[in-house]
Symmetry: C2
Subunit: 446 residues, 2 copies
């Protein structure tokens, strides 16, 4: 490696020669002095060069100085380069109170002079040039926050002896339903389907005696919707655990997980998030409020809203209303909505014998659903009956149902969309903003 | 949660009432006494019950005792259940020096009486019933080792401020070559391809100024081969870093990463690995040996072997030979083979100006290639010329090439097959043994 100093390390360094590498954010090419803002993954620093211009009277000038001045004049925004120079701490410099007086400049790869996007470009245009869009400090922070959030979740699970899964995304039968399914030819003689979730396999891990598992990986939905919350490929955060008494044991794990992970984000990035997103990261208190669905409907009705859905589920505005109620009543950003009717739940959710409702929940965060969790039906006879009651063909579920024939512990788990959590944590308007490269019905590139 | 005690916690517990949950590994149903081995994810424990049989003379017996004895007699292997009983430490008990005298037994889900696989079943049969196969202690350990290995790698990167990526697996153009490519219909008007690697996108992250990135995720190859080292879907461990001087900077990171991760595995599972796999985990010393490809050919020739490949690459036996040489000469399990000819490397590998060879390496571990690493060509003119020289159409690479037009730092990285590392670490014969659910040309289920 070169003796490269990260911009973030400069403040702690004494004055003297340094070498930094990054890209050109701005150039101010004045007659007598040139300023360059150079950014790397840790910050930005001002470079300064007293311009040496060809003398109008033809007096000879220092060739190297002329060349350096000329090189700076010709720098396009975005060009990656390495510079050497003298670091000087100077309180008068707005940007971090320091600057580097340039000695030399070495371009690694020059940018074309016309940048195809600007700060006010449309989202679609920004997605076309996502690698330029991601150079913004704000966008870079999103993915550092994501990294911290994920690692804290994994650490929570590792500390509790969970096993990390990599379940297959190529399947011989759908993992959830026959809707929204991507299919592909598999060696000319079979059809493979892309996993809509790791549901089958994280349950299989329970039959395998793994006890507690998690997986963070991409899943696929051939969903033609264009909302701010949907994508055709997204990162799903999944966990599944054995020997639970009900879905509330899953909820208890998930709320502790989230509080731990959000605490880690606040500790590491809280200040920067406030600066760049104008959001104060709030670590949620435990337990999160829990409200049965029927009661949620009464609450929002009392607020003057009724969900237009005929299936009894909350619509997006209903989710916002109940979250507003929870925020006002409990000062909480999260709420578990519980006790869903089996008609609006998949066949594998366990039913509560007393109420006939599912042992399941949705978790809402700042008004948007981020999770469905449930206890699963582990008794094969009941499971088959529930599948048949939903009109499913048992043959299509053969592999899945086999998992239950040779012993299975009571178990449950949840799936959570990583991008939704990030969107809501940072107060962004769309998961597109917090996804590295969004995929939608008309978006397959770059 | 029930007041469940994990089997692994029993040894430290004083004698008295306990409740444990798990599955039936064996039943010994003797006339006067019954023994059950119950296993959970942390270990196995012996349950004992003095049998109460219907008296031949018709004397009345304790109904509950009769029922418990009968229930044990009818337990099928694999049945998941919760038992309560009195824990008793007793040095005469072979299995861990303790047993539980049963009070009660509650079956969660009974197994069918005939288990479809046995210890000596073929690999294909075991894969059909993978969830039963995975109940073996040895197989369970594989995935605990995998979890530890991965987490240690991620921790290494997190400690060094890498950003974790989730790059899309659905792409509008191939990420590596047009061979071995899965294609699918995308909403009726486009063809999507499944990512063969995150290559394009981890390079895009360099153009985005992310500096250092990693990703651990599944990638897809429509590879019709049936070797012990190939799969159509596998977990790829990828990293990419900016501002390197050459591929040797990538190698230096990778060897440190592996040494750190293998140390973590040894610390946490070393004893158990030796017990169950008869393998002594060796933490590799740094640096790993580095041998240019041309010299490797000379070395194996001197050992009496010549690679039959006409393209100048090592064949599998050649890899075993050079690894044997390294083991004998340096006592090392790893070796970097460097300086590959551009003909056997992708177009995006950077060439060394002095030698005309690529700035790339393969990493061999115990005789098998686990990684290709390289410095990438970051200069758009050179990159385009190298693509054309390989006969590639630039139009097909348009999105990728765009990443290089607006500034790009020098960079490089590696991709490593997780299953290969696990296979070689544990001395297994095939990646199928260390993959949760293997996918091959004729294997798409369960």
């Amino acid at each position: 490696m070169t003796e490269r100093i990260l911009v973030g390390q400069l403040a702690a360094r004494t004055d003297g020669p340094v070498s930094v590498s990054g890209w050109v954010e701005t150039v101010r090419d004045q007659k007598k002095v040139q300023f360059v803002i150079l950014r790397d993954e840790t910050g930005a620093v001002q470079l300064v060069n007293p311009a040496t211009r060809p003398a109008e009277d033809g007096t000879s000038q220092d060739a190297a100085a002329l060349e350096l001045t000329d090189a700076i004049s010709n720098l396009a925004h975005g060009t990656f380069l390495t510079v050497t120079g003298d670091l000087k701490h100077d309180e008068r410099v707005k940007l971090g109170g320091l600057e580097i007086k340039l000695h030399s400049l070495q371009v690694a790869a020059a940018a074309l002079p016309e940048t195809p996007i600007a700060a006010d470009s449309s989202m679609d245009k920004r997605m076309d040039w996502r690698f330029l869009d991601l150079r913004q400090r704000r966008n870079n922070l999103i993915f550092r926050v994501s990294t911290t959030l994920e690692h804290a979740m994994r650490q929570y699970w590792i500390d509790r002896d969970y096993i990390e899964l990599h379940s297959p995304k190529l399947m011989s039968s759908p993992s959830e339903s026959h809707a929204e399914l991507f299919a592909l030819d598999y060696f000319g003689d079979q059809t493979a389907y892309l996993a809509q979730s790791p549901q089958h396999y994280k349950q299989m891990a329970q039959a395998a005696g793994f006890g507690k598992v998690f997986e963070i990986s991409d899943v696929f939905r051939a969903d033609p919707s264009f909302t701010s919350r949907h994508a055709t490929e997204f990162t799903s955060v999944d966990a599944e655990i054995s020997w639970i008494d009900s879905h509330l044991d899953v909820a208890a794990m998930q709320e502790e997980l989230l509080a731990t992970a959000i605490q880690a984000v606040k500790d590491k990035h809280g200040g920067e998030i406030t600066e760049l997103f104008d959001v104060e990261v709030t670590v949620p208190t435990l337990p999160f409020p829990r409200i049965p669905l029927a009661q949620a409907h009464e609450i929002i009705k009392a607020r003057g809203y009724e969900s237009p859905r005929t299936d009894g589920d909350l619509d997006p505005e209903g989710e916002r209303q109940i979250s507003a109620h929870v925020a006002e009543t409990y000062g909480h950003q999260f709420v578990f909505i519980t006790d869903y009717h089996p008609e609006i739940r998949p066949f594998y959710h366990m039913l509560d014998e007393a109420t006939g409702l599912t042992r399941s929940y949705d978790l809402l965060f700042n008004g948007v659903e981020i999770t469905t969790g449930a206890q699963r039906e582990h008794r094969i006879e009941v499971l088959e009956a529930q599948a048949v009651a939903k009109g499913l063909k048992l043959e299509g579920l053969a592999h899945y149902l086999d998992f239950f024939r040779y012993g299975m512990p009571p178990h449950g788990g949840f799936g959570m969309g990583l991008a939704r959590v990030l969107m809501l944590l940072l107060g962004e308007a769309s998961i597109r903003e917090v996804t590295f490269l969004f995929r939608g019905p008309t978006r397959l590139a770059p």
